[in-house]
Each structure stands twice: as structure tokens, then as C-alpha cells.
Subunit: 100 residues, 2 copies
């Protein structure tokens, strides 16, 4: 876990929002039509829709967040779902508690 990479990822309002939204998909996104659940997170299309930025920007953001280990992608056919990496997020907060 690279604290600096995580801090960079969270130094942007949209990316911070995405991480928060993914905490409660039911409250923040409309249901997935094909899948009917959020077990693997939320698909890029819905996140793009919610954030109000272009598809390429959101895709870039999500990949950056994934490289920082904050989220985990799962491919289902033509959709990619992203969910929170709770273990790393907890580790990150713990590290801040100890080191900061």
C-alpha cells in the first residue's frame, strides 16, 4: 500500500466522491438492469452518469484508483464493475492513525 498514491487519488473531489458513493451503491446508483445486484460493485457507465464527467475521464480515474489499490475491477461480459477494496482502505486509515 502506497500512502502517497492513495493521497494523490483522494486529492480530487470526484475521485473522493466515487469512493464514498461505492460505500452504498443502492443509495447512489440506479439498479443494474442485467445483474440485479451490486455484489461486484458498480459499472463504469453508472459511475460516469453520476459523476457528470466524460467516459474517458472516469475510466482514467477508476484505473488510477485501482492502481492505488483503492478499488477492485471485475469483468462481466462487456461490463466492468468496480467495488471498494475495504481491506486496503482500512489499512490506509490505520496507517494514518499510527503515522500521522
Amino acid at each position: 500500500m502506497e500512502i502517497i498514491d492513495i493521497n494523490k487519488a483522494l486529492a480530487n473531489q470526484t475521485r473522493l466522491n466515487i469512493l464514498k458513493w461505492l460505500k452504498d451503491p443502492e443509495a447512489n446508483f440506479r439498479p443494474h438492469e442485467d445483474l440485479g445486484h451490486f455484489n461486484d460493485g458498480v459499472c463504469v457507465f453508472h459511475i460516469t452518469e453520476r459523476a457528470g464527467l466524460s467516459q474517458s475521464t472516469i475510466s482514467t480515474y477508476l484505473i488510477q484508483m485501482q492502481k492505488a489499490s483503492l478499488i477492485i475491477p471485475t469483468r462481466h461480459g462487456k461490463w466492468t464493475y468496480y467495488k471498494r477494496n475495504e481491506a486496503v482502505i482500512a489499512e490506509y486509515i490505520k496507517a494514518l492513525n499510527n503515522q500521522l
Copy 2:
């Protein structure tokens, strides 16, 4: 307290180090010749020395961290001392615990 501003301030290894160093000035800096204590933190010169970057860069960093409310400056004659703003740092960690 602006979380994004704090995250930006902490998205740089040197600035993160400075905040950590200020947690234990005795361990991380040589004594202040004139003052003999670290009650108001550490002077810019010593921080510059420790960080190994230019004076103007460190001054800029410190002011950025101060604008994010992470540190507090105190002027004593021609020296400026910076100390941690423990209240804001605690508030920040608490906010991450609750919101992240």
C-alpha cells in the same frame, strides 16, 4: 477543514515527512540554539536542512500546509517556527474514519 486541501498537502512525500518529523522534534532536528525548546515547533531553516530541498521550496510547502490548517506558524524575532495543528489533524483522521 477542507479534506481535499489536506489530501493535496499530504500527496507529496516531503510534506508528509515534515508533518511526521514535527511529531517528535527532539528526535528529528538539532536543538534551537537561541530558543532551547520546541514549544512552538521547528524553525524553517532546520526543516529545510532536514528535507534537503531549497529554502524557497520548503517555505512554499509550509505555507501550503498552513493554508490546509495542518500546521501553525509562530514568529519569534526573525525566525518562524511551525508546529503541528493537532486539533485539525485529529479532526481529519476522524472525518476519514467516518466518511471514507
